[in-house]
Assembly symmetry: C2
């Protein structure tokens, strides 16, 4: 079964193709902004999900105070489009990056993260190149064992190093608590804050992150802002995390069934080069709206392996199906453009301008 | 420890970045061409690995008879660059694709694959649009349960449908045997060939595939050509399959260590948006040449989680390391360009022109 819209999309653009419903996008933007407003925490959406200046500007128009980027290349695209308040939530290091960061500082108000002294030393170069002070937040690890200093003591020492570095301004703390780790994050934050205050510093920015953490919004006393990314589109992971419904999933991959060589199986024209091998910790690689009992079992690069053994409905060759991806952020990064619709109306394409900005 | 070349690459281009050694690329091209020549099987390299017309032309100049593409968009880039003999080893279907395939036929000699009657019916539209006959091979499944008819009887019936369709020419069979399934493939091939001959048809093209199958080259009696892809760069999977050495791995990802928040761990600036979550069935996500005992344990989108517990040598923050990816084909697809070197000399960048051609 192919919906009339899917048939038109396939005819006009071909498959596989990402389709976003702007009604849902706008609803998602408004809902999360309202939730932030309700608890008095600023919204600084992470644009790694959509990588589009147009969507970032919609988030800002709805009330976001600025944006978050993970890579310099993303920030360059956003600053070029006129966005002025940008946090790069990442350790930047090295001459090449410092020259670019210095140039960015002349276009936008930049804040960057650091979790070690080598990065802080490097950042001084950027500030020197731009001639403008650079705001730096200390990234704190509160359970993910990713980036971030592991103890308040280290956070305090790094804050002091930042404050003592010419051209750098200590701005505060950046945290990315686990979904169940907010008490731990509070303890870390309180100790670190008391420590920097004891040295005459203060945290004007305390930033938490994650769309799954929208359910924890407001829980950290002292938080000034939150960095949700995925909420603009949502995906299977957000539904699993309890922060979105299927109807909130604004992006679908439209894919054609190209083979049904066995009764219990089929092949989609979307493989790991479209949906990626990122499972997000879930079973299967996406939900097929037309056949929710079908399982996308595995991938070749351009083949999605459909296991239909437990599905009462089975697609025919040529059917176009709609897939909610497991992890939408990595899927959007695979494509140069997405198709925008509003309900059944096709609006045109939107370029994923910061796609592939891996540096 | 950062090699002098890695330091220069990082300074000039930033990290993470893909670097290909042209000496190794040329050696890989020559070695596989020689292996094909030695057993009298034509070489039709799969360009999904490199997605670059320049490299495809090097493969043809070395003796390849044509190329293989997996998507129409890849074939369009290659035909535009003047490559004339192209197999799209994929079931193409639908109006939009048929219009493009018809247009492609006016630029290059095209062969396409089919494993079902719906695809064959669709292909007639392309032939009609171009006014030129279109060569079609029947894709046969011999163990992977991907695309491909499951029995010789179905292969024969599909061959007859193709031969009986206006504008279509039955060209032969396309197989992608598993590494241990060549006896099974031979049996399938022999039965299907005898069947089509009994109906007055013949297979002028019998195409086998896969770089790991280079060790089986020449094993299928009746094969006319082979479609290896990964061999031009090689990767951890090819080394594991026994068809390449570490020294044959021509592409490395150069990545900076950006965090060392714990003694036994670190963070690379290459995550799933650079190296992808495709493990290729291997443990860990790549071999770090400088620290072969370190394990790239998992990814966030822009973070590679380094587990150093079993590594006697440990990188410092700021070190640039070289990574052999597990599956190079999906990694190349993440980036707009790669940097070419020859030994220690930096030659410049090469655009990945067919990157992201998912349709």
């Amino acid at each position: 079964m192919t919906t009339p819209l899917a048939a038109r999309i396939a005819r006009e653009y071909g498959t596989p193709v990402a389709v976003i419903d702007m009604d849902k996008v706008e609803r998602n933007i408004a809902r999360v902004q309202k939730a932030c407003d309700a608890v008095g925490v600023a919204n600084r959406p992470h644009i790694k999900t959509h990588k589009s200046p147009m969507l970032a500007k919609m988030q800002i128009a709805a009330g976001a105070k600025g944006i978050t980027c993970q890579k310099l290349g993303e920030a360059e695209v956003m600053a070029e489009a006129g966005i002025d308040n940008i946090l790069i939530s990442y350790n930047l290091i090295g001459e090449e990056k410092m020259a670019r960061l210095g140039a960015l500082q002349t276009k936008a108000h930049m804040t960057v993260a650091a979790d070690n002294p080598v990065v802080v030393s490097s950042l001084k170069q950027a500030a020197a190149a731009s001639g403008r002070p650079l705001s730096v937040v200390v990234e704190c690890d509160t359970g993910r064992k990713r980036a971030g200093v592991e103890t308040p003591t280290e956070a305090i020492a790094l804050a002091r190093q930042i404050a003592g570095s010419e051209g750098l301004v200590f701005a505060g703390f950046m945290l990315y608590p686990t979904e169940t780790g907010w008490a731990e994050a509070q303890k870390f934050h309180d100790e670190a804050l008391a420590g920097v205050r004891a040295h005459g510093l203060d945290a004007t920015m305390v930033s938490t992150g994650g769309s799954p953490n929208l359910k924890n919004l407001g829980k950290l006393q002292g938080a000034t802002e939150h960095r949700p990314g995925t909420y603009i589109y949502n995906d299977r992971m957000q539904v699993a995390a309890g922060v979105a419904t299927w109807d909130d999933c604004a992006l679908n991959i439209y894919s054609t069934v190209v083979s049904r060589a066995g009764a219990d199986r089929g092949i989609l024209d979307a493989g790991s080069k479209t949906l990626t091998s990122d499972t997000g910790g879930l079973d299967g690689h996406g939900l097929i709206l037309e056949h929710p009992e079908a399982r996308i079992a595995k991938f070749a690069e351009e083949h999605g392996f459909l296991d239909l053994a437990r599905s009462n409905t089975r697609p025919a060759v040529g059917d176009v199906v709609r897939i909610v991806p497991n992890h939408v952020c990595v899927v959007v990064n695979m494509m140069d453009e997405v198709v925008m619709v509003r309900g059944d109306e096709i609006l045109g394409t939107l370029k994923v301008e910061a796609r592939g900005k891996l540096r």
